[in-house]
Point group: D2
Chain length 508, copies 4
């Protein structure tokens, strides 16, 4: 599902996915298919996009740019990218001053050839790796964690290149779903915990496709085959076809549950499950566990739509389009100096008085981060005549930052970290408020529930985020687990190796 308030940071109250990746092997129009696949993944990152393609004689050409896929590429740019294999990337970033150089894929020249890489995730030991590399004379050209991978490959003494890639990946900690391109190969890697998604598909002409979500496969008419497994390295080339290798670490997977709650498109299959189905069930659970007398159920579009449908159907209450989302919100919008109340939200969401007036309204959204948007939406609905507003959130409260590729605010800004549900209800001004309970979420996931990362709901990190020292204070003891240790001590180190066990206990 697409970010409802993209391009307007002030009024946004959603976590941010950081990237989407794609790779195509052995299709005469590899770069064009990359471009379309990136379009299908655009919701995963709107600030930059790029493609690297390898020509028949092994030259890697690259086009990257700031903006949407449709802004970065045109016919002439795509014509600069001939060849039958290519990788691509869409990027979300905290806008830096020289963003262009941070737009992926990155390409590096080595002695024995060139390598390009596109990365979705976040490396928690980036700072340390970079420091070590710089001490040995490496010069960094970007401020992106992804660049360390290229330097690790460059300084590796292994042969052939695939061995260097594996050696480099084994030094990484954190979340990484990556695709690499070389003169003649495509390589897809997913970190041992499998934090971020990565799937493989095949086109009818035999071309292999890797992508963050299946919605990209659908657009380019590739059939979904399977996930790239956590810890798996898939190498594709002309000689050997697709070959699978494993990274040495084998923890229990910890896939990001927020992909199902918010990030992925509802038409995607992610971690083997339909996102649409997950969201519909979140809504049903809410209706069952937190039902309330009402006249109409409405979503916060677009992210709340499917859960609201599930809620309405289960509750037997009419679903209506009580808020209309604008399709024309640009990058910046100028407000009159005299001010318009809740300006940013009004630009994007228009209430429908015909639906709301005199009604008791249940409004369903996917999550609450800071609570600032929820507050405005409640006010909007009441001003449009709703006599009661009951907010239902299709995820548990977010109490901790993510270190695995999602941009969440610091924990002080997370409203659920500062207030209990009743306090939040009062703050946002609705008549009742309920979240999806953590237990119900896990129950719904059933036998798979141990395979997901819930760090943002629990504060339990499968991989210690010690690379980001200034954020470690985010750590929160929510009373669910007695084994939490001091911040200066062994736990962080320990959790790096055993995180999955700690969580395994907790999750069962």
């Amino acid at each position: 599902m697409i970010s409802p308030f993209n391009n307007d940071d002030d009024h946004d109250d959603k976590p941010r996915e950081e990237c989407g990746v794609v790779g195509i092997y052995n299709d005469p129009e590899a770069s064009r298919l990359c471009y379309l696949a990136l379009h299908a993944l655009q919701h995963r990152g709107q600030e930059g996009a790029g493609i690297v393609a390898a020509t028949r004689d092994g030259v890697l050409n690259s086009v990257t740019g700031v903006g949407l896929v449709s802004e970065v590429f045109n016919e002439s740019k795509l014509n600069q990218l001939p060849g039958s294999h290519a990788i691509g990337h869409v990027r979300y970033s905290t806008a830096g001053q020289s963003m262009l150089k941070n737009v992926q894929p990155f390409v590096a020249d080595y002695m024995h050839g060139r390598v390009g890489v596109a990365h979705n995730g976040n490396l928690v030991n980036y700072e340390r790796l970079r420091r070590e590399l710089e001490e040995n004379g490496s010069i960094f050209g970007t401020s992106s964690d992804t660049e360390v991978v290229l330097h690790l490959i460059a300084v590796s003494k292994k042969r052939p290149l695939i061995a260097r890639i594996v050696e480099a990946c084994e030094k990484l900690k954190g979340a990484y779903s990556m695709v690499f391109i070389t003169e003649d190969k495509l390589v897809a890697v997913r970190d041992p915990y499998g934090f971020r998604p990565l799937v493989m598909g095949r086109r009818s002409n035999g071309a292999i496709v890797f992508a963050s979500e299946t919605c990209a496969l659908d657009l380019i008419e590739a059939t979904y085959e399977r996930e790239v497994m956590p810890g798996e390295v898939l190498v594709v080339d002309k000689k050997d076809g697709v070959q699978s290798y494993c990274l040495s670490q084998h923890p229990e997977p910890k896939s990001c549950i927020f992909e199902h709650i918010y990030f992925s498109m509802p038409n995607s299959i992610v971690f083997g499950m339909s996102v649409y189905e997950s969201r519909r069930m979140f809504g049903e659970i809410l209706a069952t566990e937190a039902g309330v007398d009402c006249d109409v159920v409405i979503p916060v579009p677009d992210s709340g739509v499917v859960a609201a449908l599930g809620y309405a159907e289960k509750a037997g209450v009419p679903f209506q389009q009580g808020l209309i989302r604008s399709h024309y919100v640009g990058r910046t919008f100028i407000e009159p100096s005299q001010g318009i109340r809740d300006f940013g939200v009004k630009l994007k969401l228009a209430p429908v008085r015909a639906v709301l007036e005199g009604k008791r309204v249940v409004v369903v959204d996917d999550s609450i981060v800071r609570g600032t948007t929820a507050l405005k939406i409640v006010r909007l609905l009441k001003e449009a005549g709703a006599i009661e507003v009951h907010m239902r959130i299709a995820s548990p409260p977010i109490i901790a930052s993510c270190y695995y590729g999602v941009d969440t605010p610091n924990s002080e800004e997370l409203i659920s970290n500062r207030m209990n549900v009743e306090e939040i209800r009062e703050f946002i001004g609705c008549d009742s408020l309920a979240f999806l309970s953590f237990d119900s979420l896990k129950k719904m996931l059933g036998g798979n529930s141990g395979g997901f990362c819930y760090a943002c709901f629990s504060g339990k990190y499968p991989v210690a985020p010690n690379g980001n020292v200034n954020k470690v204070v985010d750590f929160v003891d929510d009373g669910l687990n007695g084994s939490i240790q001091s911040i200066d001590g062994g736990w962080l180190q320990g959790s790096e190796d055993q995180g999955q066990d700690l969580n395994h206990e907790e999750d069962n």
Copy 2:
């Protein structure tokens, strides 16, 4: 409701609204409010936008540009538009070679001052008026029909300016909702038939606002007061406040029913009725009159959503989001040369297999023009696993072109003009197809049904489109009315004067 396939003419199968207008009087930030109101009216025209504002000392400054409101304006452009009254325009156009000069508002210098104008509609006697003016030495700078209004004002010998505006308007035939700006006045005019909407509102500081739809009033916190009446001329200035004049012609109004079917936003009040309510009732009628056994009801987003909700509720069948609309479709998109089946539709609409697989599906859309998109949507749904696809259209068949400000294809291209319902069903490949019946539509409108223009469904034109000779062959005798006369003859002339009577009969 917003055009679902904007910016991609090949795959579009909707009529096109040609414009939206706005005017603000006596607000210190008039141009900024115009800009926001235009944003709220963006769905009425995406190809160009402009604002003219009058400074305290009577200078009219103008900023116009090609593109979306958010692309045309920025802080510095708005700063070039000081003053407390302003008018604005968003434009849809058949892209000409020098589009910029056709972007409204237009401004002209006269002996005694300057006038700016923004126009929504289409003048059927434009060619004749232009020829007459040119014969007397007027030079035209644009190919827009709106320019004749300025020349008619310029050659008028009346005093004061308001009398010249009235004299000019009385020479116009066709559809016009217009706002004029002068050094110290704002003038709003609606043609005697009231084809296109125009409403008046007021901000809490007393500022008067005119706009095509109430959704623009809502965004800038103006309270809706009333419509500008058909044939009414409203003049606003400091001395006399709001004064109302009447054009001399008083036919029965003929408001465009398509505003309720497709053009206007569902949260708008148009011609005194809620658009959302109209659409919901269209869906209910379809469910009642053309129900079918099914498992799920889905809309073609966004234009079919409200009618689909009405259908689903009335039919007691679950409503689901079976097609996901992309928010990122740009102006142009590059397809691989090997081709992707139904490429254009797939870029914009992604089917959700979890909703569709193995299901009997009712899909609701607002209208069918050429039928090309409907064909692709049915195919998309079947490929995603739907076992039956039943299409329900929330309007009667479109059989005739519009001459009153809507861009419809020539009648040869209108599928309902060439095929009956069963033939269309076969063409688009669905299992059943039903349109909203013309009679039910009129019954639903009840006592007001005589006040609407149904020319696109009936071929009966309230005002003869004789200015567009090459289109007159569109005229269709659908057997509803025996009084149709020959094309070369008196009817056309007659209908200009009595069109409303002919239609009055027909409609009752």
Copy 3:
């Protein structure tokens, strides 16, 4: 010769030519030749450029833009201008807020076709003509005087078009060298006084070329045939070839002497004389009449170069390049806030110490307007080591503004209007100063001297500038002519008709 300080108004101290025009008839690449000819005329106007070309079937296509010829046009723009006849224009203007719409050629639609026009000059009765036209309902789209010509043609009742053009031109007062284009004709007109130049040439393929200067003919390999005569109307078409008509007024010509002093390129033949030769002789006269002991003669580049060569040769003193002109001065240049003395001049002119140090220097420039640049140049030369600086100016003192197409400051700003030669010398700080004497100038011109306009040196206007009321106070009684009359009275009217006689006396 090209303006030495183009693009930097603050530090410029030259009059400004307002335009250059070109027309090509019957060449398969008419628009490309126009474009090259405009490049050769670029020194006559750098703020805008445009071309209008007529296709075989009579469509007039137009491309205009702000900036240099090389910035406005590219391959694709020129491809939009097919056809075998075309006109072009380069424009200098006092930058207005909406400059683009003022860029010529202008094109107008009439009942019986389209006409395009490009104009070099200035119409002194523009305000009155515009008022009359507006009173009769004409709407003006630009603030350019040229537009009245199009309206006069539009309101003319004459047939055929050429008769309308002649009727229109006979209503004009002032300076106009114009080329018109219609579906099948090219028309060149020069006002009865012949203020501004206009020549005719022919290419080896028979194509006819009109241009402001012969340098444009040279570049496109056209042979110079003759001037368009003052008061002549030349019409070129397929049927009749080149035909000559006369406007009814036949005063003595008054060609602008400043074309020889400064505006035209030294390689041009203007008014039948070599510009290079004129300037060389100005320098020789200065050496003869105002010689001084010195070690080196240097020019202010580029406009003083040829006169300096004449001076040096006559005086028998070495000519050196004591000031180097930069080729890279852009539109704007940012100065440190701490300031650099004589910044603007230093950016453009670099003194050569090796030439200047310890030397007595004669520096030759073409004219002095405000004196501000001369002041800085003298300072620059002294700081670089010159022990004496003697300034020699290759024109008489400028004491009056021009109303015939040259942008001069108001007379209060003209240093020669406020100070005598000794005062100016003191102001600019040189050791001696001399101007070319008015008498010597006329003596040099010999029998032709009556055919030139010297209004800027004498204040005697061949055509009364009464259209520009606010500038009439510029009028200066320099004691040469006792017949000056009151400003409110008959003189202005009289001089319009007999100006040439008055001046004839004065000039002889």
Copy 4:
């Protein structure tokens, strides 16, 4: 002197300077002064420009761009460069596909800080150094030789940074005049042979300035103090002021004589001599040694002007401006398909018939590279009426490519490498042709003559260009030196170490 045909490679027949550098220390407006100094150095490179400035707290900000200094920078860009020390660069390059990333200054992050560098010259051992660095894991981001310096600094184990810079520089072979910037220091280095110029000056506020030529000092009101000596490392900081270090190699200097012939501005002092004086003397020598009966002496502007003045004065023949150079030649110019003979040259140079007709003309240019432009100029002059054209070239014949920072064609393209003087004369079609003789050039330089590099005239390379293997075949035995050895062997290696000795012999 500025390239006469900049921006039009097809018609250019000049060697190309590759860069200009500047550095400012301890001025509150360091970046603005850099910007002005780069403007003064614009003739040394027009394809890109950049500035890096260090803020008070040690952050290095950078702005680089493609195009002229005036295009790359504006007020807002300069405001992004606060701080009191800065370096800048203007770049000439053979336009690559991703030019922007090659625009200097380059900046690198190290463990202990950041370093920026701007480089004028060419490193002959770049390929080898890069290969060695890549073997050890360095990743290169550009294709510029300058980048190796940053990697050499990065991998150095020395402390402090200045020692690392020295260690890095000592590994370089070839030509380098470089300025480095760090958080608190400015460092200027010139290679031991001093191929390219670099001077130091001081502003009245004490700020230290480094620049390629003194013309940059003049513009920003800095007083020229001295050259940075060959092999010298100058370090400027707050604590110690200016400190001088030496690189370990101490060969006899080999300064580029072409700086005096063509590259530098005539108002600059380069290698301690006035460029104007050198050129004037080249002209005098030509008049003395290769005089011819003639009526007029003209230069090819601008590069031939000063030598032509020297020739004319010595010969006692009038100097005239027989060719007018256009100031408006843009990046590309579109020619009619029917073609215009010698189009490119005509766009830039317009002959003056008044000067040339019926005359015996001596035309002076600075050099001949391929001979293609000379051919066209001769034709132009004859077509304008010259009855004899005698070409005089103010430098010896160019027979060998440069490897020290000048872009010359391959030796096969050098006309003097393929033809003797009489053959060239015949090729270009002039009546007589003479070059400055090598011996006279050295005689003129007197005691300093051993300190210059004449490789382009002699084929004797002070530093073996073995890094550019594909160009080594350029090597030419001109009979002046019997010690030339085989290409595969010891000489190249030997010359790297003793090149100066070999040349010392040869040159004396």
